[in-house]
Symmetry: C2
Subunit: 224 residues, 2 copies
Amino acid sequence: MSELLNFKVFEGYSADQLLDLCTSGEIIVSKHKQLLYQMGQKADSFGIVLSGAYKLSRPNPNGEDTIVHFSTPGDIIAAFIMAQPSPIYPVSSYAMGPSRFLKIPREVFLQKWKSQTDLIFKIQGLLSTRIGSLQTQKTLLKAPLSAKIAFLLIDILNKYEGDESTLPLPLTRKEIADSLGASVESVIRIMSDWSKKGIIETQDQQIKVLKLDKIIEEMSATSS
Amino acid sequence: MSELLNFKVFEGYSADQLLDLCTSGEIIVSKHKQLLYQMGQKADSFGIVLSGAYKLSRPNPNGEDTIVHFSTPGDIIAAFIMAQPSPIYPVSSYAMGPSRFLKIPREVFLQKWKSQTDLIFKIQGLLSTRIGSLQTQKTLLKAPLSAKIAFLLIDILNKYEGDESTLPLPLTRKEIADSLGASVESVIRIMSDWSKKGIIETQDQQIKVLKLDKIIEEMSATSS
DNA sequence: CGCCTCTTTGAGCTCAATCAAGGTGTGTGG
DNA sequence: CCACACACCTTGATTGAGCTCAAAGAGGCG
């Protein structure tokens, strides 16, 4: 459980303090595609992604799911709605590959977390990052699809602490499409092209970026 | 100054307490299009929109500005970055029509606001609304442009306390386009159509929604 | 071994972008 | 006070990026 100490949110906390914060905490082990939280349900717990990843999604007008966020280890899910009078999960969360999640009851938040000013601001920092990312995506609305894919890959890579070039989560083309509001086919066409050019490599839904500079170029380039 | 008491964020606060929170506060009167905060600059103050409106924008890869948020009275600008070590404004803010803004130094936030747990969570509530709105916009990515415009108008109307049907801010077609990542011409085509059908009415950049139900229909309708 | 998910490729079509041109109102400097 | 620039709105014609539809191969799993 001391793996928590590594996460930025808990910087400056001792093991004892953490233990107290995680009172009644329970480790949830999820299988690929398993539902963690259902949108619309009463939110009586929140928690932290320990390993693997979860995707947060909401249905669009066609009934398909749009992915609004990828939560990787260290990310806190649903904490910022805990302070509301009777919170409801605003999105659904599904595991991407085998994942683990430390689930903490809402009462613990209200009793122990709420008063930790520093912690609250750390969480607010995460939120702020998320808004930033959503805003950047908005500025890319008029950019070609290739730029959007490029940004998404880099955004996920950046979140990952180490500077590995392999994305830390299994990501299907469909998920990329659902996250960008594009069609699977279009995503495939662009990424196949990149594969041929040796810019990326895919094995078993593990995407590896070989030439980061080329991808960045892709974001601004007008040409093919 | 007691106009602050009406805003939801300050629910439950007495006039005296507010006066203390707003120590060293200064009322900024902005003219149309005037810059309030410049993206990238050191953030040494934050504040509350008193009247009028401000648009928050960021440049897109083409150098044009994309509007990421419309701030109406009661909205708090830049508060959630105040707790960061050396904050930088993440977006630029421009007045939309004559507006007033209560500007408060960062030190006051650190000294007086930060410790007011309730207040912090009220602000987090605003943030959370903003994320929700950005996420909804993301789910509309694949929807036709008319649905996006319809949602934008309704979103702005909803924020407005009273159930007036006139948008509380001067909104040009260009601004709508910049907010949705669309072209001005396309926005005009759709809105002209609505005007002809008597669904909306525009006078001097004041948009009035006459048939709310028709607009909502527009969001789901497949037909014209 | 049939079913399901994921990936791939091709063909055709459509929505909205772009380009072009013109109209109106407002502020501004000569 | 006029003319000129500028911001905003409008309409039409053309074009293209990306969507839809269709068909098929490749694992993986019960």
